[in-house]
Symmetry: D4
Subunit: 164 residues, 8 copies
């Protein structure tokens, strides 16, 4: 199975982004994590993005805040699907800048955008993508969804009891 690369512009984004790593590990997907900045290490970003598909990587998750160019720039350089995580960083205007500069990519260069600070969902989405041709991983995802359901069932029972 291919790996998922998780990159972000600064280690200050790790607080948000490690949720993606965590859920991928739970699902048994191999990850590699790195700091790659579109604005401060453009050459490294360029090299990483242009060669990722040749290095066993199947999906790239990129997180960034403010004028968040990393996911879109990587998408311009790779044939792989790129998942963008808008991060509500300290220099962001309530997250709107992060969301819009990742989401609103021009025709030809898509970024699969998830919710603000939605790194956990980015991880799940990456697993779903790898599972398109992997029955075992899909089974894990279905069990994962079943567990979500079970948690709600427990909350439901507690709540019904409380308000009886």
């Amino acid at each position: 199975m291919k790996k998922v690369a998780i990159v972000m512009g600064s280690s200050s984004d790790l607080r948000v982004m490690e949720e993606a790593v965590k859920v991928l590990r739970e699902l048994g997907v191999e990850t590699e994590v790195d700091i790659v900045s579109a604005h401060r290490t453009p050459q490294k970003m360029f090299d990483f993005a242009a060669s990722a598909h040749e290095k066993g990587i199947g999906v790239i998750i990129a997180g960034a805040g403010g004028a968040a160019h990393l996911p879109g720039m990587i998408a311009s350089l790779t044939p792989l699907p790129v998942i963008g995580v808008p991060v509500k960083s300290s220099n962001s205007i309530d997250g709107w800048d992060s969301v819009l500069s990742i989401l609103q990519m021009p025709a030809g260069v898509p970024v699969a955008t998830v919710a603000l600070d939605g790194a956990r969902n980015a991880g799940i989405l990456a697993a779903q993508i790898l599972a398109v041709n992997d029955e075992i991983l899909r089974e894990k995802i279905m069990r994962f969804k079943k567990e979500l359901e079970d948690k709600v069932t427990i909350m439901s029972e507690e709540t019904r009891a409380k308000f009886q």
Copy 2:
């Protein structure tokens, strides 16, 4: 190769959504297109989403406008990756409602959101997902990106000439 299902809540969304069909056909990916409304045909939506992964479908593209629940509800019912296209329908507040009600999914249930009216990008993203384990399709995507580049090169030459 698996198929891509393209669904939307109303045939009025076809104007936007057929761009996804078009680009997928250009890339040689098989599609099926249907009208499925979360709010008006909830049972059909339910049946479609819960069984899609058993019917040769690998990726689902769902387009919707206003309080756009179709992509997220399908995502809650399928283990497949779901791509959401916010549509700037006539009843939308400048597209913000469509964008936010597709993008801001809770942890556990991702939707891969593309730009407002970005159906063409949804199609390309679906192809990129199918190409993760398909060398031939990836080659097509790389050629496709090369053509984008070539078009810009022509524009560049014309523009440089014009302003000489």
Copy 3:
């Protein structure tokens, strides 16, 4: 008199939503409270919504945050009036996503939306709906409004005294 069902996607919404329960109990309206998640327990949501009108329920109050699909999906499945409470949950962009994904329902499937975190008003509105054909409940609502007025009168006296 019919009951009011109060449902929400997670027990973390209880902090907001129990205001609806409280005011309905003050007004002597019977309630039932449950956790029902559109995205994590879609089948339960489906069953609850499709049968509520056969189980003595007259009005449904549904609270949700972020891409808040619960109120609209319930409305698509029931002939009962559905009141939606946008919740400013931790994963929300200042509440805008919650508000727009509940309010902007397409023609045919209304949700009676109240203010952000406005669960208390959802409870009062549910009581007003039940009171349309219930003189005694309407009397209670009119007394309730009178008490609101009396509280302002007391604040007015204190304030006038303070600034004399």
Copy 4:
């Protein structure tokens, strides 16, 4: 069965608001329609709202644009449920002012807000409210929902045929 009163601040709002009248007539609900302006005829608004519940009216639908005070002011004066329709009038900032000044009512005085220009949904919601204790009207609403479903089924067949 009680009547539904449909009021608005200006006859220029009729373009939007008559959708409420139309759907209520389809459902066999009696309506009365009037122009009542919170800002230009405050006394009339006051008299209308304070006495509506004594004149056979069961639900009030109020539409307004810009700084839209009519629905909220009526709600402050009546024990009846009030449905507010934000109208995207010519003097509105993309409808945001209409939406927020109707939706964001303080605790104690709810307005059941529907989508921007959502008068048709206001009519359906009013009927759902009257149907809480009216089996025959509820049957009509369920048939109405069935017809919505049938229209989507026809669109679905046409679309599937088109893209075969």
Copy 5:
């Protein structure tokens, strides 16, 4: 000289609104302060607004948050100039609802809107209005502006020294 009436919907708004009282007292303008709620004491609001111009009041300052109808409703009932103060109350969406529901009044019924939580400016504006035909008060306002300037001059000296 006429008085300035300062009203607000709840004593919780006093925290913001007493800045208006304070600056008016500094300028020697007589004030009266009261709690008047458009939504909870509509009759009192009506009586206050319709008679204010007969009771020695020259300008009305009204503060409100959320769906803030108090300034506009008072303006509909009085020939006096009404100054509206949008209050960022706890139930407000970042203040946008307060601002828009005060500012966006329809043609015919103006409200002189000041900045979010701008009660101090409301007080100064009220004084400027009373000073239109009052040379002595205008002199005070000009001295007040001079003091603002002097404070900046002191800050300037300190800052220049600090960065020498």
Copy 6:
């Protein structure tokens, strides 16, 4: 009686701003109209604002679009009340820039802001300000409000007839 000065940054704003002139003439208030640009004729703006109160002017109405600095800069230079009209000019982002750069003045320097393109209300507000100490003008304003009411009454009769 003092005059009202109506100024704006460009003759392209006249389309909006002449509504202020029109309503002031209807009410018998003398006006003077000029083009004064904060950004292109700063010295003229400075001279105009600093001396207006010595030239028989009682109120200044200033209209501007985009980064609209004219009303606030005039307010910084005059002791007179300044009414700001945000204009939705061609270079504006849906009017938000005009509104916010006029409304959000710092403490000490108020601008009485009216609705986007609300020049008619600016004129009425200026008249209300002049009427604070002018019984005859106040009478005119009260008749003016009565006429607004009469127009609604006629619309009401037509609408009631239409929907009988």
Copy 7:
């Protein structure tokens, strides 16, 4: 004197961007114009940006719409000042995406952002930058500002005459 390079992602942006060329030619500044797309020709963008300062270019103006990464990416690769022009392209959400993805650059990599569609101002700003050490160009800019003033003076005379 150094040249100003004006680049944009697509020839569809020329409609907006040629205003920069025009004003720079009026001021006698040499320009070069090209189409360079961050997303479709990333390598060309990279080469252009990294070498511009060695080719006689003193300032770079970059225009882009939607998720507008061109100005920021160029800024990451050049030591030259970069001016960003947010373009309200057809795929933009009212221009907000263009503005925020250019403006909100992280610390270390500034982009001098001008107004939405503000290419003319970008040209003037570029000239002002070149004029910092060029007395003759500064004289031209001061004459240019004087002409702006003269145009307003003419508008002023016409308007004063019209409203006499």
Copy 8:
């Protein structure tokens, strides 16, 4: 080499604005810092702006919050390039007012706007402007960019190690 003047409306803006001073000092650029308020010291602002280019100043950085007129007004009075820093002051609506009232300048009078609270970038941009004709300063800027890159490289190594 010319100096950079850094001005702001209040010493409360120093918290943000001193980042500009700091980075300019790191780069060896001479600065002068002052408090100049458009609204409270308009004459001083006028004098400062009109004469700055005659006093050895090459670039002006102006920071302001709320209805932020200082950068634009200075730009109207000087031929020098003006960099505007929107400050998220306490009286700001999430910074939107500061951003829009600095960014959206009319054609003819540009302000080079940087990110909200982006004073550090304003300093770097000012240095880049001075470096257009100063090889030594440009070398410093290129080293500065190299250091940014180095910091990311260190973060990268730490992160890769952590997730091995």
